[in-house]
Symmetry: C2
Subunit: 189 residues, 2 copies
């Protein structure tokens, strides 16, 4: 199974619950690209409709990919980054590559109905790996205060929050991506 992740900058919520387009950050690009490379994903999509933000991502990654940097590890990681204007366009790219629509799974820090459990999703991924299926999965992560409501209505499933029973529930999206990929794809099970 081919696994993709997308870091979504629109549509996401701000702290007041309003729908915004968040700004891309250099560290989100680097940290998450390194996690994506570690767990051997197909690609890491940065989703933003803003042209100048897309250009910024190209500049920030280009420095490492084409700039003759001696840090080839970073180059490997940043080469996984792709830029798309929307979640829909991301799915289309994956479909063009794999021949079928990906299973799209949203992530959230809040309790929601109809969530997919960790074990259930991991089992599904493992089953698809064994069958060597051409299936693909796209995991969506929201920046700012998380994905906006309409996203949840379009996806195939919503993954259970990371530690829902804990008092403190405010991981950075970078930490959430690392933990999620380790839980679904890590070898320490």
């Amino acid at each position: 199974m081919k696994i993709y992740i997308a870091l979504v900058h629109y549509p996401v919520l701000n702290r007041k619950g309003e729908t915004i387009t968040s700004a891309v950050t250099n560290l989100d690009i680097h940290d998450i690209a390194r996690v994506a490379a570690t767990y051997d994903l197909e690609a890491y999509f940065i989703v933003t409709p803003l042209m100048e933000q897309q250009e910024l991502v190209r500049e920030l990654t280009g420095h490492w990919i084409d700039g003759g940097s001696p840090n080839s590890d970073r180059k490997t990681a940043l080469s996984m980054v792709r830029i798309t204007p929307s979640i829909d366009e991301t799915c289309k790219q994956i479909e063009a590559e794999t021949g079928s629509c990906p299973l799209v799974i949203a992530t959230t820090a809040r309790h929601r109905n109809k969530t997919v459990g960790w074990t259930e999703l991991r089992t599904k991924v493992e089953a698809a790996q064994e069958l060597n299926e051409h299936a693909s999965m796209l995991l969506l992560f929201g920046t700012a205060s998380g994905l906006a409501e309409p996203v949840f209505e379009q996806v195939s499933g919503v993954l259970e929050p990371i530690e829902p029973q804990r008092l403190y529930n405010h991981l950075s999206v970078r930490s959430a991506v690392a933990i999620t990929l380790d839980r679904l794809l890590g070898n320490c099970r």
Copy 2:
């Protein structure tokens, strides 16, 4: 069992393998404090012998703790940060608090002899929780290119690398801390 983590800025290695003191970064403080709060640790130590760097950490955390910031979640997380000049001094603080020396476990991205396995350490932590022991554990994470050799000679154990069989092996320390705490303390098992 009381669990502590330390982000070590000295002694660590640079890319050439030389021992250096690395600089503290704002994002290491924030991201790791939020992970520490999520997994309900006792404290998160920032270890640096440099007085001006210690002062910088105080400024960066003080803004959120005392500055009247409306973000109380961030305040909760950053209140876990403590500053110590060395690993030894960190152990002494824990001993003063708990009555005994902590079990000190180093982390590494490279294969080493005598590593403690993930399941072994998790089982040990769970057993200590159940017995309600006054035991404590300090997990050490190296910044830059990782902890310097003398650290490994002083610790009680070295934790197995995160995904040692993978081709790409260059997670950020922020991602490594998130994955490590989830593997040892997370409820998704």
